[in-house]
């Protein structure tokens, strides 16, 4: 029996290649216009093109996806049950996600959206936790219902007011619609993203699946770019929704007894910042929102991974049953603390920069009244106070204290080199973005400027 994980290596290869390629193509032509690399006429009957392209918004997320999927493959090294299928599904999910971020055609966007759901469903249903079937069913029903709205919205946009249908984003930008129709389309897209994001009333699938969600991309891509009027109409509501979501999810997270559910709710709470950033139609806020998506992708991934690691050792996810494991695994303790610190937006880490920019973005916006800004900032402030409460009490319940019982000791070994490598890989960009954000911000800054100046000012 050969223990060397050939399969992992083989799987790793295309993923890391996917990580590198966008860099080359992007730096060839670094301006706000699109970089196309694939263009096929797929179904010419309805003008459906296979059109992929990368611009400032998507490159960050594509890189992030590649990065996290690479590390996730590494993290999934110990998966022994049916590994071939597992890695196949993982790659399928990865290609779905990249296709989603790179698609330049609304029908292709929908197609990728659906393509990505299926592997996630199967992964959940086959390798999930205890209630995996419940979670998977919930996930697929939720998101499938959500994606219906994308199709509706996309078709309306494609067929409105023109003889021949078009799905191309670039052409759709130039179209104009009456405000009422735009609002309807906007709402239908919003519902779809609200499910995936997850925005408040549609968030309950996430704690069950412990999934990662950074699909606010669509909100910027379609809702802001294609439907600017409706967006400026809805922006204050997005801000309010985001503010409520921050506090609400933080409170819910506090009440959770389960480690993973607590982290999941914390990521729901962090997504509220993205909403606020998008809702504040300013340069700063939008930049901050994209940065927050990326930084939260990194932080959330590392927190989930850490939760998985500690679950491997303690065999429990209930916080009350843990405690005092800090003495036996100091490395995990250190890493967990530092990731929590990153999550609660400690300066010097990426979360802080993103949240600060979103704060300033809201203040910057000239359209909102002073009172509105004050209220939003106070609510955000309450959220920021609640974040350390739930994260630190989680840490306290897990690691602090002292345990005399000998029942747990056999499992409690410290993190191995593989785990530490993964976490350091995740942690390095968090720190480096936090220390010098200009480097990352410059990738999409010009695009943001272009978008805002074209559509909103």
């Amino acid at each position: 029996m050969n223990h060397f994980p050939w399969l992992t290596i083989i799987v790793l290869f295309p993923i890391s290649a996917g990580l590198v390629i966008p860099f080359f193509t992007f730096y060839r032509k670094q301006n706000y216009s699109m970089v196309y690399f694939r263009y096929y006429n797929w179904i010419s009957f309805i003008n459906f093109h296979w059109r992929l392209g990368i611009d400032g918004f998507s490159i960050g997320l594509i890189l992030l996806t590649g990065f996290i999927t690479t590390l996730a493959t590494l993290a999934a090294w110990p998966v022994t049950r049916n590994p071939r299928l597992f890695y196949f599904l993982m790659l399928a999910m990865y290609s779905g996600q990249i296709g989603l971020f790179a698609s330049q055609d609304i029908l292709l966007f929908f197609f990728m959206w659906e393509l990505e759901l299926l592997p996630v469903y199967l992964l959940l249903a086959m390798w999930g936790g205890k209630r995996r079937l419940y979670a998977a069913t919930k996930f697929i029903l939720y998101t499938a219902a959500g994606s219906l709205f994308i199709l509706i919205g996309g078709l309306i946009m494609a067929f409105y007011n023109s003889n021949e249908s078009t799905f191309d984003f670039q052409l759709l930008i130039n179209k104009t619609y009456p405000l009422e129709l735009e609002i309807i389309v906007y709402l239908s897209f919003l519902i779809a993203y609200a499910v995936k994001l997850p925005i408040i009333p549609f968030h309950t699938w996430l704690p069950d699946t412990h999934g990662e969600a950074h699909y606010t991309y669509g909100l910027i891509r379609i809702n802001m770019e294609l439907l600017p009027h409706a967006h400026s109409f809805f922006a204050p509501w997005l801000v309010i929704l985001g503010a409520i979501q921050i506090v609400y999810a933080a409170l819910t997270s506090l009440s959770q007894r389960n480690l993973k559910r607590r982290i999941a709710y914390s990521s729901v709470s962090h997504m509220g910042f993205v909403l606020i950033g998008i809702g504040s139609i300013t340069n700063l806020g939008l930049n901050g929102a994209i940065l927050q998506m990326i930084s939260h992708g990194l932080i959330g991934a590392s927190l989930f991974f850490l939760a998985g690691i500690s679950y491997d050792r303690t065999r429990t996810l209930v916080l009350d049953q843990m405690g005092g494991i800090g003495t036996s695994m100091p490395k995990i303790f250190t890493l967990f603390s530092s990731c929590s610190m990153a999550s609660l937006a400690l300066p010097g880490m990426s979360g802080f920069i993103a949240e600060l920019m979103i704060f300033l973005g809201v203040i910057d916006n000239p359209n909102y009244s002073f009172l509105f800004k004050i209220i939003i900032i106070i609510i955000q402030g309450i959220g920021i106070i609640l974040t350390p409460i739930y994260l630190l009490s989680m840490l306290r319940q897990m690691f602090y204290g002292y345990k005399f019982s000998n029942t747990l000791t056999p499992y409690l070994m410290d993190a191995g080199p593989r785990e530490i490598f993964i976490l350091i890989c995740l942690f390095f960009p968090i720190i480096s973005i936090g220390i010098y954000p200009n480097f990352v911000l410059s990738i999409w800054n010009s695009k943001v400027n272009f978008l805002l100046s074209n559509n909103f000012f």
Binding site: K138, L141, Y142, I200, P201, H203, T204, Y248, L251, T252, L254, S255, Q256, N283, L284, G324, G326, T327, P330, F333, T334, S337, M341, L346, P347, G348, F352, I353, L356, M357, L360, D364, G381, I384, I385, P388, I389, L392, S393, R396, F399, Y400, G401, Y402, Y436, P437, N438, L441
Partner: protein
């Protein structure tokens, strides 16, 4: 040690400032936008340079000290020094920062280091609670310019974290919670002083907060049993003084007190650390035992150097003339009296209390007979060392049974910082007083602090004699406090031999005192009831809110979704039964519908 270099560098800057060079300001851009420029850089002015010297000297002393103090935590010593260096670095960053955003960044970092260091002995549940409390309270304070200093400097409504922070190792208490981090709030107010001065309302809020905190801290400190907690409340009270001084506009006095207090209190904490260190093998490793002043007493015979340095610190804090805090505190007292008599009287009363509780600790700890051995039975219960290694204690116990241990003087590495810190404690007061080299009769510190604030023209033309004359009431009240402390806690009362021969009038006074002292004791024990109140309001309120929200999330939002799912499921099931394939039922349905349509 880089910090040594930093210290030398800061002395260099300090000297430059003294010789009157201009204010340095270097900036480089960090996050750049069209409309917003976030810059990081550093700003050097007199205020900064004082703080630099303060932070670096205390930090170096504490590092030397903790090398010996943290001897038992071998495996974790790297973490400890790592955190400590990070703390010092971020504190220096805070002091040097030229804009508010950078202040905020380092402010948070300092808070995080404090969190990590308080929770350093993370196996103690009380430490775990304390560090979380400290972090959250500081986080609350991050909003608003005024709230921040109040939280960080442990002012009245947000002071609750500071006494709990004493769960950390003692060198940490000395560095962070006495000398540097708590001073950050004062520093920030001093930095923003020209702004606050425009707003008289804010200034009065600051001064009243300071006064209330000073009084509250002093009263709570009166009857605490724990050595470090008394020092913590005393720190709180002294920070209240500084706040008061800034609030009434005497910028110089506040900062002067900040410096003198930092040195004295660092000395006191390190001394108490030495005491705790020597008590630990005897009474046990639990903070309730080793820091409990009931078990101490008579330590002067066993550890003379610690006792003398501690006495210097105590005298300084009480405001006895040649020592450092006298000069600064007296200035605050006089200025507050001039500014507003009620504030002044609070300040004077607090000065008396300070003298009382400081000498209470001194007498209880160092004078009288050693009381550690009367509590033999307690020892065995508390034999778990903090890292859970029992072997060390067992050896100790074997020794213990053969011949009774007495506390030993700490080793030289620990004594060295104590002695070094004694020097500024004694002498630093003089920099605030008149210097003959300046031909104008302006004292030295205020002379170059005025450079930094141009708008604020502080003319201090007090003569030395006048100054001393003003000082008389404060000295009197300090001595009064010391006398009461001596009467109540002095060597005579606690040496158990004299217990029986009480003087007749003493019992009468005792009766009167008893009712008074119990109320004081309760006040102090329950921490002036504020903790309970805040606990009730915030924690309970928060828990209630959480319950509501999670109920909503669980049953209403998720319930609706699941309800839809179940409904559709049942709908499907019932449809399945309807389409059962029986033609007769279809026929019946069709006929029924036809009749229905027909009738309409």
């Amino acid at each position: 040690m880089f910090l040594n270099i930093a210290m030398l560098l800061s002395f260099h800057f300090f000297w430059q400032q003294i010789t009157g060079s201009s204010i340095h300001r270097y900036l480089w851009s960090w996050v750049l936008y069209k409309n917003l420029v976030l810059e990081i850089g550093y700003l050097l002015d007199p205020l900064t340079s004082i703080m630099l010297v303060l932070v670096t000297t205390v930090a170096v002393m504490v590092m030397i000290y903790s090398d010996s103090y943290m001897f038992y935590d071998e495996g974790y010593i790297n973490f400890f020094f790592c955190y400590l260096s990070l703390f010092t670095a971020s504190m220096l960053g805070l002091v040097l920062s030229p804009n508010l955003i950078q202040v905020y960044i380092f402010w948070e970092l300092v808070g995080m280091c404090s969190y990590l260091l308080i929770g350093f002995w993370f196996t103690r549940p009380s430490a775990a609670n304390a560090c979380q409390k400290a972090f959250v309270t500081n986080r609350i304070g991050d909003f608003g310019l005024l709230l921040g200093p109040i939280a960080k400097s442990a002012q009245f409504p947000l002071h609750i974290w500071l006494p709990d922070a004493m769960e950390g190792p003692t060198p940490i208490s000395a560095l962070i919670h006495a000398a540097t981090m708590v001073a950050a709030g004062i520093f920030l107010i001093a930095r923003m002083f020209p702004l606050f001065q425009m707003l008289p309302f804010v200034m009065s809020i600051i001064s009243w907060t300071g006064a209330i905190t000073a009084l509250l801290g002093a009263t709570i400190a009166l009857a605490q049993k724990d050595l470090k907690k008394v020092l913590a409340y005393s720190t709180m009270s002294q920070l209240g003084y500084m706040m008061l001084a800034l609030g009434i506009g005497s910028y110089k006095a506040g900062l002067f007190h900040l410096i003198t207090h930092a040195y004295s209190k660092a000395l006191l904490f390190l001394g108490s650390g030495s005491v705790i260190h020597s008590m630990e093998p005897i009474v046990g490793y639990h903070p309730n035992k080793s820091q409990n002043m009931i078990f101490m007493g008579g330590l002067r015979q066993y550890m003379p150097i610690t006792a003398i340095t501690f006495l210097f610190g105590t005298l300084s804090l009480c405001g006895i003339p040649p020592f450092a805090c006298f000069w600064s505190k007296d200035e605050i007292l006089v200025n507050s009296w001039v500014h507003f008599p009620i504030l002044g009287s609070i300040a004077f009363f607090t000065a008396g209390l300070t003298a009382f509780y400081m000498f209470r600790i001194y007498f209880l700890t160092f004078e009288g007979d050693f009381r550690g051995h009367f509590f033999d039975d307690v020892k065995k219960l508390s034999s778990i060392s903090i890292w859970g290694s029992l072997e060390f204690n067992k050896e100790q116990f074997k020794l213990d049974k053969k011949f009774t241990l007495y506390p030993k003087e700490a080793n030289n590495i620990m004594l060295f910082p104590l002695i070094i810190l004694t020097i500024p404690t004694v002498f630093i007061g003089f920099i605030g007083v008149l210097f003959d080299e300046n031909t104008i009769n302006v004292d030295f510190l205020s002379y170059w602090l005025t450079l930094s604030i141009n708008s604020f023209n502080y003319s201090n033309s007090e003569k030395v004699l006048e100054f001393l004359f003003n000082a008389i009431p404060s000295i009197i009240i300090a001595f009064f406090g010391i006398l009461i402390a001596f009467y109540l806690y002095g060597p005579n009362l606690f040496s158990l031999k004299k217990e029986n021969k009480k003087l007749p009038f003493q019992s009468k006074i005792d009766v009167i005192l008893k009712s008074f002292s119990t109320s004081i004791y309760n006040w102090s024990y329950y921490r002036a009831y504020i903790d309970g109140f805040l606990f009730f309001f915030f924690i309970k309120g928060l828990r209630f809110l959480i319950k509501i929200v999670s109920f909503i999330d669980r049953w209403i939002i998720d319930g609706i979704i699941n309800g839809i799912g179940i409904f559709s499921f049942f709908g499907g099931e019932s449809l399945k039964y309807i389409e059962g394939g029986r033609i007769s039922s279809y026929l019946f349905f069709i006929i029924f519908c036809m009749f229905f349509v027909f009738f309409i």
